[in-house]
């Protein structure tokens, strides 16, 4: 269980690195918009992103919640 004041734990160093996942995702969004959308359209782009969410689901399932 996570304490209700969980936001204060955002201050960990580890998250400052894990948070770079957002930067990588931003980079991926450029690639999708400049390569996938012009060739196959928005629908295919959304399917790719749906697939990304499926990978995230798989990763969550294998996550060991300790270091």
């Amino acid at each position: 269980m996570v304490p209700s004041n969980a936001y204060d734990r955002m201050g960990s160093y580890a998250f400052s690195y894990i948070g770079q996942g957002f930067t990588l995702a931003a980079g991926l969004s450029i690639l999708l918009d400049s390569w996938v959308v012009p060739v196959w359209g928005y629908s295919v782009c959304f399917y790719v992103l749906s697939g990304c969410s499926a990978v995230a689901l798989a990763l969550t399932l294998v996550l060991k919640e300790s270091w």
Partner: protein, 399 residues
């Protein structure tokens, strides 16, 4: 003797009352500052998806090579400069700046950067220069402003850090609801539809004609003024708690790091251990692939929606409703995580995101369904942010 004790008690009570008022004002200032933070491109929910089409339309009339794809890069550039250049406010850099010059100076610098960036962008004649200046400078300003009001507010309310951060971040989620609509009214007061069809490979994007797009510089100047006023109001309301020492901030080199960060250095695994752990890489990759949909759709919901919904205000309103939904999601999800484990909550979040992303294209023909799906997308994106932050803190944070 008795009188002296009563006098001291009264004084203490008066100081506590004064501290509460100052603390509340600091939280309010943080709320206002985070409202300005959002209209820039970085962060998560923002108005960039709403306004980028106007920027692309404006510059397309001077350079026909400019399209929606050109302006799409602004968000990642800004995210890079926020996330790497000045950190997500979670690294030492942000903390050092805050402690070196104080919250008011840091806040004023952020406000000045926002206002001057919008003002400068109103006069930039080149789309690529606009994308660079807007992306870099708003990223820097975000790095300066994100947690600047949160830290002093935590000093006033050390036992309610979650609530305080939630209230301040609520401003961040809420602001696109106001600024997105406001910007739309400034630039397209008669609600003209985007009629200029521009092909991008197999995709046909829609842009606004020059009679709408020409209002961009004016809208940027107005926004610059609004941001300046918001910061002029909010920065003086940032106070320092009088019982600072008691709360753990001491006069030493290590005081350059906040109480939380110092605590983490002492009690958490070192970075080498973190980097060697499976959990770190799974979380990093999980956040990367899990947040990709949210980050994309925040930028593209309007571009895609315009292909089928030919009402500019409706689309801006959809973005605003979705932003409010995201703001509530950011506040509520940490509370849900009090009762449900990260694995369970994020699995539900991911499954929902898989379905929503795969079916989004089917909903765009109906504005109500599209609004619902975009709102769901924004809420699920909030799940990525809060879920991973909390899980990272739980695994690698103080025990």
């Amino acid at each position: 003797m008795e009188e002296g004790r009563d006098e001291a008690k009264r004084e203490l009570l008066a100081r506590r009352r004064q501290d509460k008022v100052k603390g509340a004002l600091t939280v309010f200032a943080g709320f206002l500052m985070n409202m300005v933070r959002a209209p820039q491109a970085a962060g998560s929910v923002n108005a960039w998806g709403t306004i980028s089409v106007y920027v692309a339309s404006y510059y397309h009339h001077f350079d026909s090579n400019v399209d929606l794809g050109t302006m799409f890069v602004v968000y990642p550039v800004s995210a890079f400069f926020e996330g790497v250049g000045f950190s997500n406010a979670h690294t030492v850099m942000g903390v050092i700046m805050y402690h070196a010059v104080g919250s008011r100076v840091t806040g004023a610098a952020a406000g000045l950067t926002y206002a001057l960036t919008f003002l400068a962008c109103a006069y930039i004649p080149n789309a690529y220069l606009f994308a660079g200046v807007y992306g870099v400078m708003t990223g820097v300003a975000t790095g300066l402003s994100t947690f600047t009001p949160v830290w002093p507010a935590w000093e006033f309310f050390p036992k309610n850090q979650g609530l305080v951060a939630g209230l301040i971040v609520f401003g961040y989620g809420l602001s696109p609801a106001l600024f997105g609509i406001g910007f739309t009214y400034l630039i397209n007061p008669t609600n003209k539809p985007a009629t200029l069809e521009v092909s991008r490979g197999a995709t046909h994007d829609r842009l606004f004609t020059y009679d709408v797009a020409q209002h961009l510089p004016y809208a940027l100047r107005v926004m610059s003024l609004v941001f300046a006023v918001l910061y002029i109001v909010s920065v003086p309301l940032l106070f320092k708690a009088s019982n600072k020492k008691k709360l753990g901030v001491q006069d030493s080199i290590s005081s350059l790091m906040s109480q939380n960060v110092r605590r983490n250095v002492r009690e958490c695994p070192d970075m080498a251990t973190v980097l060697r752990s499976q959990a770190f890489w799974v979380l990093l990759l999980g956040l990367f692939v899990g947040s990709s949909y949210g980050i994309y759709i925040i930028n593209a919901y309007k571009n895609f929606g315009m292909l089928h919904i030919h009402n500019d205000r409706t689309l801006s309103l959809i973005g605003s409703i979705a932003s409010v939904a995201n703001a509530f999601g950011r506040m509520l999800l940490p509370i849900i995580l009090d009762y449900v484990s990260f694995k369970v909550s994020y699995c539900v979040n991911s499954v929902a995101q898989i379905v929503v992303a795969a079916t989004l294209a089917l909903t765009v023909t109906n504005q109500y369904w599209y609004c619902l799906w975009i709102s769901l997308s924004f809420v699920l994106f909030a799940g990525n942010f809060t879920g991973f932050a909390i899980e990272a803190g739980r695994i690698f944070g103080p025990k």
